[in-house]
Symmetry: C2
Subunit: 391 residues, 2 copies
DNA sequence: AGCGTTAACTCAACTTTCTTGAGTGTTCAA
DNA sequence: TTGAACACTCAAGAAAGTTGAGTTAACGCT
């Protein structure tokens, strides 16, 4: 009867300070090196307040002084930058056969990255493996656990019991309990869980082609095809955390309606080439097929581009993003080929003359994208002001 | 070279207070009547802080005492509620042939609503008409201008120069300058501009079936078909304010790909019936055709439901909303018919057993939906905490 | 019926953090 | 050479939150 109040944070001095700290960090990260006055103007705070906050952050080892810049008249600007070893983030990508882990510093540079095969895909095996990898990563990088700000975990979605469960690539045993909580308890760290596409999008935003973009979409070629949506600088998660399940929508290829994922994904290209007797298991195989201009691969690429054009129309018209990024487990040359061949829909809100970004861009590809993205989730959190965050 | 800092507000005492005030108002609005302790728990503020804020809000005439409720042990709760005449919002919907206006009180109850025909669709004519309507509305309702919190304006999108311009129903002369600013200067009020679908979605969230929902989609039957997306309680606007342009995406009807809007919109049903020699100009005509079970109308409804099923699959899988609402310029009986006939996609993240809301619901329909939604934009703003709002 | 427990709310003192305004040092331009 | 522009610091003051003790009212156990 009594509808419960959704918790949302009020502002008290402590939270205000924390909010402002993150605001300052974000501003410094955004431009690499800035002075206090500029931050003050952008944030609506007094220079004094910014000065105090920066001196705090220096004390916490999150910032370093970064020389002076004399900009026209007046006292030269004392600039500050993020201190790379001010903190670290642990990124984990869980797959049915292996766990990928990476350690990333505060500016997003990978310190180490590793692939660990799994004996089995059981929940406890995964938790043990991740724990062990975290411990050994800390030792290898000579970092204290206190310097770890958190862990990002990439797991195959969708989460919970949906109409899409029962499909391939699922991990058993994770439908009960909140994965984030389970990992948080095991690792004793703040944990953020996302799917591969969302994580990849954040990686791109932290240190890739989407740097500084607040509204974009990321199409992630994985086992299937995932969509990561960033709106206003935040990942769009949906009511139950399953937004971006684009793989199952219908698109047109050669006049026929097919599931998008069946035309553009790693499984799709493997299946297509397997029908022609070609056994492709890794990215190198694909690259060599492409460099030899394999006809079947080119046909597949053409169909993938067609499917993508439909998908692009939907994404652009529904989200009106600054750009759409393509990346993931697909060689760069193939992504570039697809991008070059994808017809940019004319009837689209994105077809505007005053664009500054291309409508379709290639992001970081390769096996570690999502893992680094997992770590990027932690960094994102560290650089995002907290008050008024609803969840 | 120097990338500019995106302004984002830091927290100072003044803004913290304003944030907290809105938080308290929102909490009270959400449940109708609450006590201070409960708000304190939900917001993470002390009861003392909430008490102080409430006494402020009482002084400003935004709240009224709402009796005591004895809930178990302890001192009975002194409850508070929004004071209806604590403020008013003006809603405007601009169409090429007429301007719709409405005055709404702080709890969302319409005080008056009106349709004013336009001599022409020129910019100055519109501005004059809206100004005049605002003035006369204040007089008629005996409200001082000071009690007006702002104006919401609904205008046909998309905004700016896109691949979709040059189509029907546009207003000339609004592509230069920011419409919000122009109206704000003319009316001398805070102004919020949105398209019809977004406004309707907010109306539904304020006082309709989406009350209390933070993640949902609203399909608005207007001239065409628009999609209003609410994510985390906020309208999803996209990078250039044109998100939700769903009318032009391709869907399948009887195995053929067509533009969604050509199968489900007012223009579509009019065109379809006109081909059969039936001239339908208003909702009453449609209702009588429906009650006489007109074959052509039933065929159209069937196709609309088919198209909608495709659209629903896309919306659900991309946004993972709590529910999808149908409303707008279409009679309730027709909306209900369409909803009953729309196949709910099985392969959808929304097809989950633990749902609490239906996947498809009917919202408020009728000519004034978007106009009331325009006013709801103002209310929404009044009830939304401000710190960390990025735009 | 009496009395201890529970819970909402208030009062007054205290704390945190921000702002303000005066003052310092550096640079550029007239 | 001088003054304006600008970044930054210092110290005092102001705003808004928290804390802890005290008050009041309802419930429930004896």
């Amino acid at each position: 009867m009594v509808s419960t109040l959704k918790p949302q944070l009020g502002a008290n001095p402590e939270r205000a300070r924390s909010h402002n700290k993150q605001l300052v960090l974000r501003a410094i990260r955004h431009v690499g090196a800035v002075g206090r006055a500029e931050i003050a103007r952008a944030s609506g705070l007094s220079t004094q307040a910014v000065s105090n906050i920066i001196s705090d952050l220096l004390g916490e080892g999150l910032l370093i002084e970064q020389g002076v810049r004399s900009a026209g008249r007046g006292l030269p600007v004392q600039q500050y930058a993020i201190k790379p070893d001010g903190g670290y983030a642990f990124g984990v990508e869980v797959r049915p056969t292996a766990v990928f882990t990476a350690l990333v510093d505060l500016v997003g540079t990978p310190v180490l990255a590793r692939r660990t095969p799994l004996r089995n895909a059981g929940k406890s095996t995964i938790l043990e493996t991740v724990s062990a990898q975290l411990a050994s990563a800390l030792i290898e990088a000579r970092i204290s656990k206190g310097a770890l700000m958190g862990a990002g975990i990439v797991m195959p979605g969708p989460f919970g019991d949906t109409g899409l469960t029962g499909t391939e690539s699922e991990l058993p045993g994770w439908n009960t309990g909140d994965p984030a909580e389970i990992f948080a308890n095991t690792l004793n760290l703040p944990v953020f869980v996302e799917n591969d596409a969302n994580a990849a999008a954040m990686a791109e935003r932290m240190n890739g082609v989407a740097r500084g973009l607040d509204d974009f979409a990321y199409l992630y070629f994985g086992q299937g095809l995932g969509l990561g949506l960033v709106q206003n600088g935040q990942i769009l998660q949906g009511a139950f955390g399953n937004a971006g399940e684009i793989g199952h929508i219908q698109v047109l290829v050669d006049g026929h309606a097919v599931e998008l994922e069946s035309a553009t994904s790693r499984l799709s290209v493997q299946a297509c080439l397997a029908r022609e007797g070609l056994d492709v298991t890794n990215m190198e195989d694909l690259i060599s097929l492409y460099s030899s201009a394999n006809r079947h691969l080119l046909v597949w690429l053409d169909k993938a581009a067609q499917a993508l054009s439909s998908a692009l129309s939907i994404i652009e018209n529904l989200f009106d993003p600054q750009t759409v990024i393509l990346g993931g487990a697909m060689p760069d040359v193939l992504l570039d080929h697809i991008i070059a061949r994808t017809a940019l829909p004319e009837r689209s809100v994105s077809n505007r003359p005053d664009r500054v970004h291309p409508r379709l861009m290639r992001g970081t590809s390769g096996r570690m994208t999502a893992t680094l993205g997992a770590a990027a989730l932690v960094l994102h959190q560290a650089f995002t002001p907290t008050i008024a965050e609803a969840r």
